[in-house]
Structures are given as structure tokens and as C-alpha cells.
Symmetry: C2
Subunit: 299 residues, 2 copies
């Protein structure tokens, strides 16, 4: 398996100023894998409850995703409810029911343990570490995190940062983790904590990547009609890692291109609910928008 | 004169969370000209009171700026006071004393009237129009505006938009002028009002240019220590127009490079009070940061 993701599968109930959707199939690993699958093989490690319809996993398999790492446990699947305000940047969590994800004990299948590319999607840092330890000698490990873990599991997270190659995080998380307000200063401080590079996502304001030998900044794709931002960050990571795994390297010039692919896959994600826009847009659609992005940023 | 700017000269009293400065030499034309002068000749049309120290105009001349279009009128120079919050995006006007600028009647010197490149810095649209009518056949006319004129002089502004080639405005102004929230949609609507291109400035989030044949988007230069954002927009315009005038064309690829020069000159501007950082950084410093910006945005 060239790329493996460890993370959540969930049902999301979303309210926006314009629309709503109950129990939409989501989760960090789901969005990541749906985005990464356009670039090559990807295996998922996660847990669902017995309430997960077979059709949802069949939809993932139809995208070419390997689902043997998805455990079906007694109980219900992780559920999350949230509401977005009209600026899309303000998100209120309405409820969180961890259910089977509460005691998620990641078991990386034997066939995934030699993955060269590993993405640790958002989960408690201790769980991310437990998953990471099951890989033999990954070439590139990238992790995501969230405010909650920076707040309640900082020591575990700091420990994890020493074991990974890249960290993706958003502006708020970068400020919280580093204690710095200026985003470039914040990202540099996170670099000092261990990773070789940091991808800092600023939503509609784009993203930048900074590492020892690379600094690349790019705007977001200007999506005119956002439907649901849920999963955008994981889709970004999926496009980013999917591309890296597909070309089997992470040289600075490859990381730059991967940032554009991440931007493109995230831009598709926000145009609909759940993974629907990722299913609807194939690699040709991704390449078309990639070329459009390149025209926006090239001198 | 290859480039002429019409606009204000002023004394700005600035408060920031970290510092303050009283009666700093400023004004839209001042910042524009100080930025543009690094690229070639620039003439200023404006008005000051008899209280303007000779030294300030001498400083402009030292930058190579032609000051024969600056009228000295009986009375005081335009004064403005403002306070910035720690996010730099929230600006409160503490006072505005128009003084001699209230009845500004622009008189374009004969030697400027054949300028191929003209910038109408922020002023009442009727004044901008009165200045524009004095030019013989400019090749490229670009204007700036502000919320006040969109609010109280909308008809005049709409009339002006039909006579100019380019408009520079910030995100808030674009939304107000177009009635659209999404910035790309807003910019497209402004294009429909007349100009061939729109430069939309988003402060720390960068800027984009959109026209019939061009769409270019770029991040801001990541200034780590902002001192005073006053004049950033005019400095952007000065770098943008100064570069265009220096190469005497405005083909799409030239407009793209001009956006980078605008970004660079604005980034210097915010690193100090008044035009001090623009005086302190010569063309070589601009080229050095231009190349740094290119490295941040190139695949």
C-alpha cells in the first residue's frame, strides 16, 4: 500500500445559512481517502459502528480505496453536528458523539505496514502514535491535529511532532500551538518542534508550506459558491499526500506541486456535502482545475 | 512626465498598539510617489498649506519626484488621525481635517499633460475626473477610491469608472461597490462597470488582479513586524504603476509582474512610519525582495 491514512469515519449533521444535511457520511479519514484515491492506491484504518450502511463502504471501494483496515465494532459510528455562519470561518459544534471512535485502537493491516507514505488524520496524539508505531519504515509521515489536542494532550502532541516529517494545521491551531500571532513566525516555531515541514492552511486565504529548504505560498481556488466546508482540510491533505505518493518523492518542487493539488481537491470538497463532489470530479477534472490554478499564480 | 499622480499630501497622526507618531508626513499621492519613484520619473499634483515644511518637499525631490504640480495654498495642510487595532485590519478614524484639501482644484502642469500613465489617488470622484480631463491622451489611467465616495458620490464614481482603465480597491470597498460578498464575483461586477482590470487588495491576505485577459492572484509578503499600515495601499499602487510606466506597457504578463512589485513596495511601507521605509529601501532592496517573493510563489 503506497499510502495509508489513519483517522475517523463519521456521520456529520451540517447546518449552513443556505442549506442543511443530516447524517452525511464524513470523517477525517473518509475525506482524506476520497481525495487521495484520485492519485493512486490508498488504504484506510478506522472504526465504524454496526450502523454504518454497507453502501457507504462500497462507495469508498468504488473510488479504489482499500477498506480492509476499517474495523466494524459493536455500537454506533462517530457522529458530529456543526453549524457554519455566512463567512464560513465561524463554526459552532452542536454535538459530538464519539461512540465507537472513543476507544479507537488502530490496527494497521499487515499489507499496509510497509506503506512509504502515512497520514495520521486528526485523532488523539496517543492514538496517532499507536498507529505510527505499527509501520515498518515509512518514508514520509504527515499528521493533522486540532485545538482540542493542543489544549488537553499537548505533551503527547509534542512527543508526536518529533516522530513525524510534516504537520498540516490551520491558522488558529498554529497560533495556539506556537503561542505566536504572526503565522510565518508561528510556523517556524512549529518547525523547531520537530517536523521537516509545516503546511499552514488559511481557508479562503490560501495556504503556505515552510520547511528547511522550501517556502511556498499560494491563494485558495476562488470557489464562488461554497456549500459545505466540512472536510476541506482533510481533502487538502488527501490531494497533497495522494500526489506525493503517486510520484514517490517529496523534493521541494514536488511539495510545491502537492500544495496546488491539495488546494484543488479542497476546492472541490467545499462545493457540496459529504464526499459527493470528490466522487463527482475525476482526475481529469482535478488536472483541469490544477492548470487553471497554475494560470492564476504564474508570472 | 511618464507617470503622474493626483492626490493628497497630509499629516497623519497614528496610534498602534505598539507605538505612535504625530504629524507624520503622508497622504495618498505622497506614498504613491515615494513608491513609484524607485522605478522612474513621477510627477505629483496636489495641494498643501503654508505649514508644510520645505524639508518634506525636499525629501520628495531627493527621491527624484517632480513637485511642480504641488500647489501651496493659504491655510493648513490636510490632517488625519487614526488608530489601528492589533489585528491591523481594524482602523478607527480619530479625526479628519481636510483644510486646504477641501477645495482641492487640481491643476495639471503643462509638462505633465502628456503623461502616458496616470494614477488618480483617493479623492472625490469629481476631483479625479477634473484632473483626468486635463490629460491629452493617457495610455493607462488607474484610480483608487474609498468607502466614503461609494457612499456619498456613487454617481460620480460610476461615471469615472467608464473613463478609466484600471481600479484598485480593497475587499471592503469591492463588496460595497458591487453589492457582492464573494470577492471574485464582486471584482467581476466592477469590471462590468467599465475598467479593463481591477486590482483587489486583501491586506495581509494578498491581492488579485482580474481583467478580460488576465487573472493573477498572489499572497502578501510575510512581514513579521508591522509598524504602521498607513499608506500600504498607495504604496502598492505606486510600485504597480511605477513598474508599468518603467517598462511602458501593460500586457497581461507585465501586469502580473507589476502586482509583485506592488506587493513588495507595500510590504516595505508597513515596516515603518510615513515614507521612511520607502526612502530607506532602494531599487536594489526592492529587486531583492521581488526575487524572494518569486521564490515563494513559483512551482
Amino acid at each position: 500500500m503506497s499510502l495509508t491514512v489513519i483517522g475517523s469515519l463519521a456521520f456529520d449533521s451540517i447546518e449552513t445559512p443556505f442549506d442543511k444535511r443530516d447524517e452525511a457520511f464524513g470523517g477525517s479519514a473518509t475525506f482524506f481517502a476520497a481525495a487521495a484515491a484520485r492519485f493512486g492506491e490508498v488504504g484506510m484504518v478506522g472504526v465504524v459502528g454496526t450502523d454504518m450502511p454497507d453502501q457507504n463502504l462500497a462507495d469508498l471501494r468504488d473510488l479504489g480505496i482499500d477498506c480492509q483496515g476499517i474495523e466494524v465494532a459493536e455500537g454506533k459510528t462517530f457522529r458530529w453536528g456543526g453549524r457554519y455562519e455566512a463567512d464560513w470561518n465561524t463554526r459552532t459544534t452542536l454535538f459530538t458523539e464519539l461512540n465507537t471512535f472513543e476507544h479507537f485502537d488502530p490496527k494497521v493491516p499487515a499489507g499496509y505496514q510497509d506503506s512509504p507514505f502515512v497520514f495520521l488524520a486528526n485523532a488523539a496524539p496517543a492514538i496517532q502514535m499507536k498507529a505510527l508505531e505499527q509501520f515498518k519504515s515509512p518514508r514520509l509521515v504527515v499528521a493533522d491535529t486540532m485545538n482540542l489536542w493542543i489544549d488537553i494532550a499537548r505533551d503527547d502532541l509534542v512527543g508526536l511532532l518529533k516522530k513525524i516529517d510534516g504537520l498540516v494545521l490551520n491558522d488558529e491551531e498554529a497560533r495556539m500551538l506556537s503561542g505566536e500571532n504572526h503565522l510565518l513566525t508561528a510556523a517556524r516555531k512549529v518547525l523547531d518542534m520537530g517536523p521537516s515541514f509545516v503546511v499552514l492552511k488559511k481557508g479562503e486565504h490560501g495556504a503556505f508550506l515552510i520547511g528547511k529548504d522550501v517556502h511556498f505560498s499560494l491563494p485558495a481556488y476562488p470557489v464562488e459558491k461554497v456549500v459545505d466546508p466540512t472536510g476541506a482540510g482533510d481533502s487538502f491533505a488527501g490531494g497533497f499526500m495522494g500526489y506525493l505518493a503517486s510520484v514517490a518523492n517529496f523534493q521541494p518542487h514536488t511539495l510545491r506541486r502537492a500544495m496546488v493539488y491539495g488546494t484543488v481537491t479542497a476546492s472541490f470538497c467545499v462545493q457540496g456535502f459529504t464526499i459527493e463532489p470528490l466522487v463527482a470530479n475525476d482526475r481529469a477534472a482535478i488536472e483541469s482545475r490544477y492548470n487553471e490554478m497554475i494560470s492564476f499564480i504564474t508570472l
